[in-house]
Symmetry: D2
Subunit: 150 residues, 4 copies
């Protein structure tokens, strides 16, 4: 991963404004904790209403945070007026997600004119220990002229 050159100098405020429209992020208590060119982190705190049957964070919560982190990492490098859509993502669950919080780190691997590929690693934090609990690779699309923005 190399340093990325943003095409829109106002990318940070644009990412933050779009994230605020993702009501689902608020529903799971997700917060945008880092926005840089090609790099976006999203944090989700453990909550009893986000778990699967064994008390771990539901894989869907991890996937939701990683998908948004990847999508916004991609959007941060897109030109003004373009919108981002998820084409597909795959996530491998490496360990049960417990602890106080998880951080999904979206990073652009390659930004093309139409297709951007991102990695999204999810790390769980418990006290002073941390553990990689999931890894995603996602394909994002730059959409123009469909009445969508951001």
């Amino acid at each position: 991963m190399t340093a990325q050159e943003p095409q829109d100098p106002a990318y940070e405020s644009r990412v933050r404004a779009s994230f605020d429209k993702q009501t689902f992020m608020a529903t799971i208590g997700a917060r945008l904790t880092r926005v840089a060119a090609g790099e976006v982190d999203i944090e989700v705190a453990m909550r009893p209403d986000l778990v699967q049957q064994h008390g771990f964070l539901h894989a869907g919560v991890l996937a939701s945070a990683a998908d948004s982190a990847c999508g916004y990492a991609a959007l941060s490098l897109m030109p003004t007026g373009a919108a981002v859509l998820s084409i597909e993502f795959k996530i491998n669950l490496l360990a049960p997600a417990s602890g106080e919080r998880v951080v999904a780190a979206g990073r652009v691997l390659r930004a093309g004119k139409t297709i951007t590929v991102c990695r999204g690693d999810v790390t769980a934090y418990a006290g002073s220990s941390e553990r990689l609990v999931a890894t995603m690779v996602a394909t994002m699309m730059t959409v123009r002229d469909r009445g969508l923005t951001d």
Copy 2:
């Protein structure tokens, strides 16, 4: 996909009881609408707090419902005392998810001793029309003797 033989005759109540422990399913308003051997459907109604920035259902909501549908389709064929864990899943988003509700249909493609592979198709319903909006293939694992059940 062929008819599947359950090893646990009480698979339906077992799946329903485990689903009820997935608090995240309640958080997104997901309901278990079909439980058969190797086949589980989960329905999520559109809600304003489940969307992404363009007002469509967030891809993470679709993935969450499809992951649980696949996981419980797999669990329905597992022996008593075993638990199910998601190893990985990939989802392709085929069309924006709008309408009144989506149904994620989890179907076992192959049930092995340790690994079960499932397909999860997500269909959106709007009035009398329906549309395939996403398709998942997921790998589930049968876990024994780790202090986990269902």
Copy 3:
């Protein structure tokens, strides 16, 4: 999967001509056994130089055949002058691939202006028995104006 409407009436000869340029298909002995609108089958006969360490067909052989079957199923629905590129694919290996031959069946799930998503099921044949040994979901891209065709 619904019936698909080809935009190029000469799609079959176009697919066959492009397949013939894929020298790697000849290298693995792959043959194009079916070309319809949105549906392409590719057959590979078992050969001792195509196996992995246990004597089964290498997963890469299955992936190669399924990728080409998906790509050509997608190309069969593309307009004249466009080219197809693989964006990504995922394959789940369901059973060891033995027997006399495998057939990879590429089918278009959704054909969009830029992105086409296909499923590729690989079936192994041994005598009178058949077995699904792998399933792929692939994302294909319609490329225009890059100096590429087919």
Copy 4:
């Protein structure tokens, strides 16, 4: 990725012997260029019989090399007597693969008792330049007591 502890001190000879049984690797001219604990590189030189319709290395060639690199990275950490099988892999194609050769670098992300997850990055080399052309995440399984080894 942290340093990995091999369980079988003879892992290198074991990996090399198993690779030599993968006749398909010889068919595509693949060479094992690095074997360390949890890390295996496989190199494939460009050849005119390995390409797709535009003259780039076929995505199936990249996937084949990356799958074997991931599988052997996983095997290098497995106990004596166990065998490795590919459960699934996904590969994103980031750029057309041209140049003189590609190297698929398989690296273990997490080695569990039954499931090992690996990343496989494929880099193309042309003269003094190099380019990441594909990235894979693969799930490998440790198989015991099925009459298979390595």
